[in-house]
């Protein structure tokens, strides 16, 4: 058989490979340039006690999760039971960032659905969200002891993402000094 006839077949198979791989990729997931960079500084008031504030400096020395959520966010409900379960294990502190939300609505939502957060802070105008490159709520950041962002989950945390990516990474980061 003429070898030249195989060329279109090979080209077709390569194309097929690319298209097939594309099936499992989410075009909405844009890799964050913040991975490996220090968490942007902020100073936000706490949801349950507006007199108090929180900055990333306060979390230095421990591995923590920053979960961006809002009471108006529908897919936040999807991941919330997973967060509540994770909060109960006390494996890692979870800071909730109530993004572009009314504080009263946020607090009501937490009493309704359960509060997994070590602490909740409010980003009323979404400015800190922009600094973190947030474009679709919910988003979750894993931040290490030195305050560097190590991982970003775009969209709801799934049980698989938690078990396979987030928790192993958290354990690894907790062990390293």
């Amino acid at each position: 058989m003429n070898k030249k006839l195989l060329i279109p077949l090979v080209v077709f198979l390569v194309l097929l490979g690319f298209l097939f791989a594309g099936l499992w990729r989410d075009p909405r997931e844009v890799p964050s340039p913040l991975i490996g960079k220090p968490a942007p500084p902020f100073k936000l008031t706490q949801l349950h006690d507006p007199a108090k504030t929180l900055t990333p400096e306060d979390m230095k020395g421990q591995v923590w999760l920053l979960n961006v959520w809002a009471s108006w966010c529908v897919s936040c409900r999807e991941e919330h039971p997973i967060l509540v379960a994770l909060g109960k294990t006390k494996v890692v502190p979870i800071i909730g960032l109530d993004y572009k939300d009314e504080s009263s609505a946020g607090m009501k939502w937490l009493t309704q659905h359960g509060d997994p957060y070590t602490l909740s802070i409010v980003d009323r105008d979404g400015r800190v969200g922009i600094d973190f490159g947030v474009y679709g709520v919910p988003e979750t950041f894993v931040i290490d002891k030195s305050g560097t962002i190590r991982y970003k989950q775009i969209g709801p945390i799934t049980a698989a993402a938690l078990e396979q990516k987030i928790l192993p990474l958290v354990r690894e980061l907790q062990q390293s000094s």
Partner: protein, 158 residues
């Protein structure tokens, strides 16, 4: 009386849009800053609705980012600084005109590469076709037979 009422109604109708127009307040006082803000936001992708610029999009995030651009222009930032601000948060993907660098090499050169491959393939195909279509020389007997078949009187010479 009814004519007067008619005229008054007409007047009110004509004036209604004018009153409405007078209520519209310009979004920015400075037209130069405004045109800069528009130009910048036309070069940035809205990550919520990915095939729109933040100038076109009405997503909340696009509104916030347009606001950011206006504020930064007001703060005296240069266009490059504003673009850098966006890229450092959202990555190169926010730029509708992606930069030319190692990771985007295939993106920029891919089409040219495909075109080059196409031209090479076309050239080869044409060459082989020309080679196979080379003039066939006929022997005198064949020529005579062909002429007979075509119904022409056979020529005297070869």
């Amino acid at each position: 009386m009814s004519t007067l009422r008619f005229l008054l109604t007409l007047l009110a109708l004509v004036c209604a849009p004018l009153v409405h127009a007078a209520e519209a307040v310009p979004t920015a006082q400075d037209p130069v800053a405004q045109s800069r803000a528009v130009r910048l936001s036309e070069q940035l992708r809205c990550l919520v609705c990915q095939n729109q610029t933040i100038a076109e999009s009405n997503a909340d995030l696009a509104l916030d980012l347009r606001q950011q651009i206006r504020e930064q222009i007001a703060a005296g930032k240069s266009d490059d600084q504003i673009m850098q601000y966006m890229v450092s948060r959202y990555g190169d993907f926010v730029l509708y005109n992606p930069p030319f660098k190692a990771t985007t090499l295939l993106l920029w050169l891919g089409p040219a590469l495909l075109l080059a491959i196409g031209v090479i393939v076309l050239a080869r195909v044409l060459r082989t076709r020309r080679a196979s279509a080379q003039e066939v020389t006929l022997s005198p007997e064949e020529r005579e037979r062909a002429a007979r078949l075509l119904g022409e009187p056979p020529k005297e010479t070869t």
